[in-house]
Symmetry: C2
Subunit: 331 residues, 2 copies
Amino acid sequence: MKKFVNDPRQFVAEMLKGVALANPDTLRYVPEYNLIMRADAPRADKVSVIQGSGSGHEPAHVMIVGKGMLDAACPGDVFAAPPMDYVLETSKLLATPKGVLHLINNYTGDRMAFDMGKEMAEAEGVQIKTVLVDDDVAVADSTFTIGRRGVAGNFFVIKVVGAAAEAGADIDELVRLGDKVNSVTRTMGMALTSCTPPAKGSPLFELGDDEMEIGVGIHGEPGRRREKLANADTIIDELLEAVVTDLPYERGDDVALMINGLGGTPIGELYLLYGRAHEQLEARGIHVRRNYVGEYCTSLDMAGASLTLVKLDDEIVKGLAAPAEIAIRTF
Amino acid sequence: MKKFVNDPRQFVAEMLKGVALANPDTLRYVPEYNLIMRADAPRADKVSVIQGSGSGHEPAHVMIVGKGMLDAACPGDVFAAPPMDYVLETSKLLATPKGVLHLINNYTGDRMAFDMGKEMAEAEGVQIKTVLVDDDVAVADSTFTIGRRGVAGNFFVIKVVGAAAEAGADIDELVRLGDKVNSVTRTMGMALTSCTPPAKGSPLFELGDDEMEIGVGIHGEPGRRREKLANADTIIDELLEAVVTDLPYERGDDVALMINGLGGTPIGELYLLYGRAHEQLEARGIHVRRNYVGEYCTSLDMAGASLTLVKLDDEIVKGLAAPAEIAIRTF
């Protein structure tokens, strides 16, 4: 296993410790619940926005806790939903008079943990509402999901909801906004390689040297089909066609375009994909008004990428353009 | 070859096209010279700061062109110095009454190209000065270098010099600042895996499943030695010891700490390394005042990392803290 790891069972804890040490003034780390939270949360004047999900998708979600983004993230182990008590304790710790919003990517394990955590926290007086993200067009149901999976499009829901929460919006308004962004966001991804969970020590699934998986899930779940490796343009055109025709996005639409790396793909390759996707969208009369190229929601060290489109309107653009401060400060 | 690529000979051009399409308002792309430049450059009121270097190290350098950073980058092909005429034409295009500063990572090919380009541009009336970066402590000379190699520490030189150039500093002041930052910056890296240049289509060098290369160069050059794979703490402790004892960094020093990913390593693993390095520095009485975790100078898809320290003073902190706007906008 070619990874930076000590005891694989401590992988998540050691990663979270690093995140906390890198952000002593802005974040607080509660090891008992894998909890990374804003140091200034909870704030009585705003709804707390929290995410759980499994680890292994960084920077989602522990590294996008910050002003204008998430108030807290309490991930489970690698590719595992958080235990229900993480959700409960996080919800209690983050409780404010304006309530707590759970953002949940649509996986059965996450939904169970959040549903149970919500019920128990509500019994202790915490007001909670939920937004579910299910942007992945690849498959109708999947290994870990009834309905569509939530993947990189989650970022846009967090960004817009986070900005509105920062501005003082109430919880019903945040639910409306989150549902709206999710409803105009579509993603599809593909894998060039498998990925290796630290505790497993070997690739999660096998993929031949001349094969790729189109529509792969972010936990290595099967996608639409396994194909012979193709060139970059062929791959991105296939992802784009699947995404564009799903909503559908139409001539005259303004969109945000995200090319998301899955963890093992260099940013140079992502920009190569971006160039092709941008040109193909413009050729369809769909205008790219905002772009996002880099790693947003990964699958450990998987080489691969996903493409996300968001249909823009003034309200969504306002949220995307609002300032945000996160744990990852590159420059 | 598991990469997003079409014709390997067009890899760099297609990547640069993507960078340009993603930044239509702020960058200008001149395909003839692989040139990415600020749309508002040259500006008569500032020195233009430019870098060349090979491609394959992204985000260095084409993706860190922007306000408060580089004014332009004109990279060569993957892992190849830019042709001399790229340097010449870039220097002429970026010429201002205050001059042009060449930032060069210390590789023989880059130095030759920049020396010749400088001489020819000077003959055409462009004022040019040079800052050389050689922060890599791994080896005294190497495959492509007389003297130490320039690697990820280059970022800090660009950031501080770029901030001062933006504020109107003259060229001699920028040379002083650049040399100063370089003189207090030290880096060492290591590889878990090799990397695959698109045009080669296979790994650049062989590294066994149970091996790692300590002190590797960013073009896969040999480092200090090849060893059996070790755990994360052992690896980071070895990098830290080599870097700390080189300057040396001493008890009571304030430093910036960078954990730089080499292209194929997920950010979660980088934060795990960061946590250990931070704790070990504090145990030595060396205080981490600023941190940088992510990809700054990569080697295509190589799994691996480097550690950089910068000894801080008020002048350097001011430059590092100054605002900057670059092609990569993550959130």
